[in-house]
């Protein structure tokens, strides 16, 4: 009852304030990226491991962007609802103001595995400032973090040596641990393969290759005597055909970051 009275009073106040004013809704400018078929439920039709690239295209139409390697399709829906113009005159003066354009964004990104089947879908009401690959990685990273843990560094195109094989993946460094998310060709894009707490890191340094002749790598020695081997590869956009493979600068950066993580643990020791 009290709420209804307040609401009535508020509406009366607004009516008195706007008395003599002209209030107009201005349409938004044409939206080249508007598409009504990309809404909050647009991803419901796709089933991971079953739906294909063709299924998605035939259902949603031409995408805003597509990965050159067919790993994702991105759809955007930007709708400008326009703004309000309030204009009025009194005895001695005239004036007015207008509100900001009200724009709604939605980005739907569909990810595919190596067989062309849907592996993941991200559908949210953001303008998607990040590249699709990083949006998926961030979501996966958040899922494997502990409560209160934050990402300090994110190193893509990494490799970790497991049983005489270099496995591709992404290194995530938090203020507590080093994580390695393996990149898989099918199923979920990133699987947590290693969580190495800072307190378990004994040392981080360059080491000479045991796999590729003469190829150095970053070695992390653990306090229990075991070790892990990592390399950072050249990013696809930066690769020089004459020198493919290991990126020394990125690997050195990883060593620096892992060293920082180890030093954090050292400070906490009595």
């Amino acid at each position: 009852m009290q709420g209804r009275k307040l609401r009535t009073l508020a509406m009366l106040g607004v009516a008195v304030t706007l008395c003599g004013c002209i209030v107009m809704k201005q349409p938004g400018s044409p939206d080249p990226d508007r598409r009504d078929n990309v809404d909050a439920h647009a991803d419901a039709a796709f089933i991971a491991g079953v739906s294909t690239l063709e299924d998605v295209l035939l259902t949603l139409g031409e995408p805003f962007a597509a990965a050159a390697d067919g790993r994702w399709l991105e759809y955007r829906n930007t709708h400008n609802f326009g703004h309000w113009v309030v204009w009025g005159c009194g005895y001695y003066t005239c004036g007015g103001f207008e509100t900001e354009d009200k724009v709604r964004h939605r980005t739907l990104t569909v990810y595919f595995d190596a067989t062309g089947h849907v592996r993941d879908v991200i559908n949210d009401d953001t303008a998607a400032a990040q590249a699709p690959e990083y949006r998926l990685l961030d979501r996966r990273s958040q899922a494997v973090l502990e409560p209160g843990e934050h990402v300090v560094a994110r190193l893509t195109d990494a490799q970790r040596r497991v049983a005489d094989q270099w496995r591709p993946g992404v290194i995530i460094v938090t203020e507590r641990a080093l994580l390695f998310l393996e990149t898989a060709d099918t199923g979920p894009a990133h699987q947590l393969a290693l969580r190495l707490p800072a307190a378990e890191i004994q040392s981080v340094a360059w080491a000479e290759g045991t796999s590729e002749p003469g190829e150095p790598y970053a070695r992390i020695r653990r306090v229990d005597g075991t070790s892990d081997a990592f390399t950072l590869m050249q990013l696809p956009g930066n690769s020089v055909p004459a020198t493919p493979g290991l990126d020394r600068d990125r690997t050195q950066h990883f060593i620096d970051v892992a060293g920082w993580l180890r030093s954090r643990s050292s400070r906490k020791l009595p």
Binding site: P27, P30, R35, L57, L58, G61, A66
Partner: protein, 112 residues
Amino acid sequence: LLVAAVAGVALLLAGCAATPPPQPLGAAVDVEFIRDGVTSRNECMQRLGAPSKTIATLAGGEVWTYWIGRDASGLRAVASWSTFEPVRYSLVLSFDAGGVLVRHSMVKIWER
């Protein structure tokens, strides 16, 4: 005096146009010829022109997309940036590795 007043009002309102004038849509488009399992990629190229986007599939095929608008006169080709047609579709054509249409759809993108 009246002419001057009208001219003055016209001049005042000249800067008030909120949206650009509608642009003419493209050429008429006929999609009746499209048949799954029958229509070839070459035929689509001849009758619809170059696609707006081409996406390769892992099976060696291709998916072609076209922007199509619809007004009172029927279906018409539109540029991707055009937002003046009353209804917009995305025509999707999926070809196999041999260039034969396997599946197609006309996806309604929005209706004004």
